[in-house]
Amino acid sequence: MERVITANWHVEKAYTLSVYQQHGGFKSLKKVFGMERGAVVPELIKSNLRGRGGAGFPVGAKWSFLPKGTDVPKYLVVNADEGEPGTFKDRFIMERDPHRLMEGCIIAGFTLGLKAAYIYVRGELVLAAQRMEAAIAELYATGLLGKNIQGSGLDFDIYVHRGAGAYICGEETALIESLEGKTGQPRLKPPFPAVVGVFGCPTVVNNVESIACVPLVIERGAEWWAAQGSEKNGGPKIVQISGTVKRPGTYEVPNGISLRDIVFSDLYGGGPRDGRTIRAVIPGGTSCPVLRADQLDVKHDFDALKEKPFDTMAGTSGVIVMDETVCVVRIAARIARFYHHESCGQCTPCREGTGWVSKILDRIEAGGAKRAEVDQLLDIVNNIRGNTICPFGDAVGMSIGAYLRQFPEEFIAHVEQGRCTYPAW
């Protein structure tokens, strides 16, 4: 299909302003400056642009929550803390096409009357931060940032803020805490960031890909965008495929394409290597419940995957494929170790529960666990879920619980055999 979001990814030096402008850059901003300020949000709502950070919350609706006339400044915070295992798209938007992100930020600034945007970028993404700082410098130099941008009356700044290694800072309130110079420990919601966000001010928090799509929705129109995907899931989407497939990498696909196509089509994943069979697929990053190989006939969008019997999510569209040589118990153990490492420590069920779950899973995988511990595992994860300040606890419960639900025979076999029979890593 035609590249829309990723159109500039293989254009040489597309991260520079002159090349970006040669390829149509900043035409959308100009169009927005000529529109009724109040007309932008309805366009975004009509387009069915869903947030691409994991939750799939409609972007237009989130923008509409920001209060109008306030006597405190309002901010956009771009969540560039890409850390969900299996996810690798925002990194490339920032490295290869940073001006598209900046254009989206400035459009948000004008539409919502914002003072500034902070791009909170994961500390490990060094090149992304450098390219964005350089892009921002170009914009200040040409009057596309700063005071009275292109005579529109908009004063707007964009700042890059590097994180320092903490997956939890991808949670919007933890990100805001971290941006304020503190540890990344999530806040209770309500109040939501639209009411009390960064520096105590109304804030809208959006994922990199979501904001990068905004100039594209303006350019192509809401109707075109809505028509590209499935119902209520407008536009194309960047899918990232990894694991035991012939063709891992990033692909731009229509929202709602079949998950089976993503994994097997020669246009995308290309199916398994070495004549093996696929046994499991994670549809959107490791926090999403795993699917069995017989459950792939589903639209990959933010709604269809939530339905029974799939009971999972599109998440970040990080599709991880596992073939018959992969031990799903070992995968569950590795995911549990990740959660234990990344828990911020605030809530007892998560802080203690992730460590406990990780130890039990390591024991099951190595073959030294008792049968009762498998049931105990389910009990523990169900007690983390729903009992925490932030969705991290829910993710632990849902993702680990899914391995138990989908592959119970694997856990029992490890216990009964007293060892793992799959190839070592």
Partner: protein, 167 residues
């Protein structure tokens, strides 16, 4: 010689002239100084090599923060080193899916080549070997990061070629 047990930085702890300018730039990005803490800690670590007690106290003083707050933040984030590290921090991703695509084999290869375990540093202070959580390059697994650069689609040959460049 590398001293893994050093308790602080040798010599005066003062920002370089370039970092003084950068400090001023960073502070003016935010409504209050505390918000600049994490970018300033990155800057301090790059200049001094690691965040020793003396470095953290210096940052606290410059940003008018309690030392305990700086220690709390430095402890929370994995990129901040509160102990001495080698000149090149080699971080190998062992999250899902890298772990099923050879991430642990990369760790073992480097460990054997350099004679150090995970979390250890070579005696000459050249390389520290670490495992990392997902580095956002999953389609190009296995991969590692060193000196801010990613090295993807690793093979034993590529790893050896990289190690040879880490002086």
């Amino acid at each position: 010689m590398f001293n893994p047990n050093a308790t602080d930085i040798d010599g005066p702890i003062l920002f370089s002239p370039e970092n003084e300018k950068q400090l001023a730039t960073l502070i003016q990005r935010y409504p209050y100084k505390r918000a600049a803490l994490i970018p300033v800690l990155h800057m301090a670590q790059a200049q001094f090599g690691w965040l020793s007690p003396g470095v953290m106290a210096y940052v606290a003083q410059r940003l008018e923060l309690p030392e305990g707050k700086v220690l709390q933040v430095a402890s929370f984030y994995t990129m901040f080193d509160k102990k001495p590290v080698g000149r090149h921090k080699v971080e190998v991703c062992t999250s899902v899916p890298c772990c099923m695509m050879g991430g642990f084999a990369v760790v073992r290869h480097i460990s054997e080549r350099l004679g150090i375990g995970v979390g250890e540093t070579t005696a000459d202070g050249r390389v520290t070997l670490l495992e990392a959580e997902c580095l956002a390059g999953c389609g190009y697994a296995p991969l590692l990061q060193v000196n801010g650069e990613f090295h993807e689609n690793l093979t034993p040959e590529r790893i050896d070629a990289l190690l040879a460049t880490l002086r």
